[in-house]
């Protein structure tokens, strides 16, 4: 079976997927237990999760994983059965064990570095101590291996029964000689109740070698005394075989306690004696007939109710005599096909060997197919908008049948679009699930006590967004614990509980997903942040900033570097990195801090990357789309706000700073001569790195949601262009890549940031978001 590599590997993939789910359940269950929200079923579910991981791991021979899971499971079983209490300390240990179990799974999967053996071994000892009481477990138990456990499983030590009376049968005495075993087998009624059948056991023995079977029906009572559920028959089987005794006992493994069984070596003899049955019946006896009789006895003992003092004669079955074996098979099949008491519904004839999948409420679909569907729906939306525009242009009355029908179509189209987007939507749970472990580990490393509360795990967002959320959330959570929370002693001194709380929540708000990470720590130390910003030249020493603006300084590139991390009494580890990755998703990040009370980071992200909120603008008769997330403000330039810094390069005063003014049409080669700034519209944007610039367009047409079409897959990458879209009137419009426009304009004009600084003596830093 294991030679068939492909299906086996495929199941392995399923196993690891299942492990992910089980580990998630495990952690969720343990956290529920920790918070006191657990019931008996939670403990059972936790046990089952570890148990299933172990079961699957065993199937794939993942020994290290099995071994760890076994110890883990043993303790959980004790807890489940109420033999061990599940106190706070135990839950903490179980949580750490779940982390190590996850490491074992990852290692087995080949995804991660080998497991930290010392940590794993340490936890094994801890788990065993908890399992066996507070005292250290005996060495023998500590080193218990799975193999030993499995051995136990098989380690039935059957007590051999001997039935002296049976061996006296003349027929049995004339058993075949040579190497082999004499098996005396007398089933109890219970064996039949449990749906075992003697016929099948005899057949199994015949696979081991040549059998000579005799049936003793002497115990069958008179019909009036007969109990249908009782076992009255006994078989004596002489088996010529090389098989060891254990192999024979294996055949009877399931029925050992429901029958009298003895297995003794066959008496050696010079030659095999073919036994002639004493009251030789006229018809030929074969095993098939014998088995049918046996079967009949099992199913309806009435038919075998005639007491016969002598044992029935013997039949021989040679293992290689395929004809005989076939007869056996046939008789068994026949017997089983219509058993009076065995009303098994026969498999329907239509049913073939093809496996029947269990009823499923989910289907797996290739992502490509979903994306293709989304693409086509995007086209549909565009086409619908185009038709709508044509109808308006044709001057049809709004009450006309076409217009009304078109409105309905528009509603349907929007619904289809939403439904299709929902296919790609996934709950943020997959990301949130990883966070409790992170919180524990960071807490352990930094000596903080932390309690992580998550909310809104079921909030759904586009798959791509979910995948790309993990990193920034990880980063921010780490910061919240490392820099936001105080040490337990500091907290107690500040009159707070020793255990800090970090809350991670997801929610939908006005068509976007909002993720909040808040802590009840010390909040941002504004003095310190300000001092750092000044020392790094990010703001002037005398800059006047609001609290909010100071807090947001931590997002500036260059604000934090590794060496200040540990000194900053606030946060700020690479927050510019976080902000960049959020912006790359079309999102924004803000912070609100309350000194001494804590901070809240708020991420706001689009629900999908397939649709974009854009501002539609005109530049040299080209229609362009600027992503709304990048836009800070739009304004009509006044001549007195514009300063030329040589050549065509200009800066414009925006609030209290000067930002470069970029003529987009000129930069993209739509025209040769720049327009007068005051005849156009300046749109102030902020790049992902926090730099500002004003883009000069001819006019603004309005805001619109547009379907993003990749330019790279359909054409090629173009500088300054992020993607394309099709507008309602059918025209293709380019979606601007603001960062690259700003960057290339700098390259061309070689304006260094310091040149853009205003000459006016209010070297002020303004940060608005």
């Amino acid at each position: 079976m294991r030679d068939a590599v492909d299906p086996f590997e495929a199941i392995k993939v399923v196993f690891f997927q299942e492990c992910d789910e089980l580990l998630g359940d495990l952690e969720a269950g343990l956290l529920a237990i920790e918070s006191g929200a657990a019931d008996g079923e939670t403990v059972n579910a936790v046990f089952r999760a570890v148990h299933s991981v172990k079961g699957g791991a065993g199937a794939f021979g993942l020994e290290a994983l099995v071994r760890f899971a076994h110890v883990f499971e043993t303790l959980l079983d004790e807890i489940r059965s109420g033999r061990k209490p599940c106190d706070d300390l135990t839950v903490k240990t179980l949580l750490r064990a779940s982390d190590v179990l996850a490491d074992h799974v990852a290692a087995a999967r080949g995804q991660a570095a080998p497991v930290d053996e010392a940590r794993s071994a340490g936890l094994v000892v801890e788990l065993e101590m908890l399992t066996h009481g507070e005292t250290s477990a005996p060495a023998a138990e500590t080193s218990m291996t799975v193999e030993a456990a499995v051995e136990d499983e098989f380690g039935f030590r059957p007590v051999a029964f001997s039935f002296p009376g049976l061996g006296d049968d003349p027929a049995v005495e004339a058993a075949p000689a040579g190497e082999g075993w004499r098996v005396v087998f007398r089933p109890h009624g219970q064996m039949y109740v449990n749906a075992n059948e003697s016929g099948l056991l005899l057949r199994e023995m015949s696979r081991l070698g040549e059998t000579t079977v005799s049936l003793d029906i002497s115990a069958v009572p008179d019909l009036s005394d007969l109990v249908a559920e009782e076992g009255y028959l006994a078989w004596t089987v002489d088996l010529v075989t090389d098989a060891v005794e254990a192999a024979i006992r294996d055949v009877f493994e399931f029925v050992e306690s429901d029958c009298d069984l003895s297995v003794t070596p066959l008496p050696a003899g010079p030659a095999r004696v073919t036994v002639e049955p004493a009251p030789a019946p006229a018809e030929e006896f074969d095993v098939a007939a014998l088995l049918m009789r046996a079967q009949a006895e099992v199913e309806a003992p009435v038919t075998a109710a005639t007491p016969t003092p002598d044992p029935l004669p013997i039949a021989k079955v040679a293992p290689d005599a395929s004809g005989v074996n076939a007869a056996v098979e046939a008789s068994i099949a026949k017997a089983a096909a219509a058993p009076p008491a065995n009303n098994v519904t026969p498999a329907s004839p239509a049913a073939t060997a093809a496996p029947l999948a269990p009823a499923a409420v989910t289907i797996r679909v290739d992502l490509d197919r979903v994306d293709r569907l989304i693409n086509v729906v995007g086209e549909l939306v565009i086409q619908q908008a185009m038709v709508a525009q044509r109808v308006v242009e044709s001057g049809l009355a709004r009450s006309s049948g076409i217009s009304v029908g078109l409105e309905d179509l528009e509603l349907l189209t929007r619904e289809i679009q939403d439904s299709v987007m929902a296919i790609r939507a996934q709950p943020v749970k997959s990301v949130f699930q990883r966070m409790p472990r992170l919180a524990r580990e960071v807490g352990e490393m930094t000596g903080k006590r932390v309690r992580l509360i998550t909310a809104g795990e079921d909030t759904e967002v586009d798959k791509t967004v979910v995948e790309r959320l993990a990193e920034p959330i990880t980063h921010m959570l780490r910061n919240a614990i490392d820099h936001g929370l105080e040490t337990p002693s500091e907290r107690i001194a500040a009159g707070k509980p020793a255990e800090g709380t970090v809350r991670l929540a997801a929610l939908h708000r006005s068509g976007r997903i909002v993720i909040e990470i808040s802590d009840d720590g010390r909040g941002i130390n504004r003095e310190r942040v300000r001092a750092i910003a000044v020392s790094r030249g990010l703001i002037a020493e005398d800059a006047v900033l609001t609290d909010d603006e100071v807090d947001n300084l931590i997002f500036l590139p260059g604000f934090s570097t590794a060496e200040v991390v540990s000194d900053v009494s606030g946060r700020g580890v690479g927050m510019d990195v976080v902000r960049r990755s959020i912006q790359a998703l079309g999102g924004r990040i803000t912070i609100a801090s309350n000194p001494g009370k804590g901070s809240t980071f708020t991420l706001s992200l689009p629900l999908t990357l397939a649709v974009l909120d854009g501002m539609v603008v005109t530049a040299a008769e080209q229609t362009l789309v600027a992503p709304l997330t990048a836009i800070v403000e739009s304004l009509t330039p006044r001549p007195q706000d514009i300063h030329h810094v040589g050549g065509h390069d200009a800066v414009i005063r925006f609030r209290d700073e000067f930002v470069p003014l970029i003529d987009v049409a000129l930069g993209m080669g739509f025209r040769e001569v720049p327009i007068l700034p005051e005849t156009g519209v300046a749109v102030v944007i902020e790049t992902e790195s926090g730099q500002r610039a004003a883009l000069l367009f001819d006019a603004i047409q309005g805001q619109r949601q547009v379907v993003i079409k990749s330019l790279e897959t359909n054409y090629q990458q173009v500088d300054g262009v992020a993607a394309a879209t099709i507008l309602g009137d059918g025209r293709v419009a380019l979606i601007l890549d603001c960062d690259s426009i700003v960057a290339s304009s700098r390259k061309k004009t070689a304006i260094r940031p310091e040149l853009v600084r205003p000459d006016v003596h209010r070297p002020d830093f303004k940060f608005a978001s």
Binding site: F8, I11, H51, S52, G55, F254, A337, N343, A347
Partner: protein, 121 residues
Amino acid sequence: MTKTVLTIDDSRTMRDMLMMALVEAGYRVIQAVDGIDGLETLTAEGADVIITDINMPRLDGFGVIEGVRADPNHRATPVLVLTTESDAAKKQRARDAGATGWIVKPFDPVKLVDAVRRVAA
């Protein structure tokens, strides 16, 4: 005639493993994800042999055995319990409930098929 094996296990991995081994050996396999599902599937489709896990949500393997034995239509259907329990008491409990036999996880596909053949005509 192809024999039908009903496998009841909450682990997809286990269900797949059983499926692979049994289909290879020529059995038809139907699956259920927990005890309740298992008994419902048995009622709806029938089976020649049942293989059930012990630890499952909703209804455990003991419940399955008891349910099968209490069902006049299916009480003679062999039930093999699938277990990693090294706990002999658990096995005894399964037997008392009416289990026909057991399969120890991790199972060797050959042993699995042996066990099924030992209880299925």
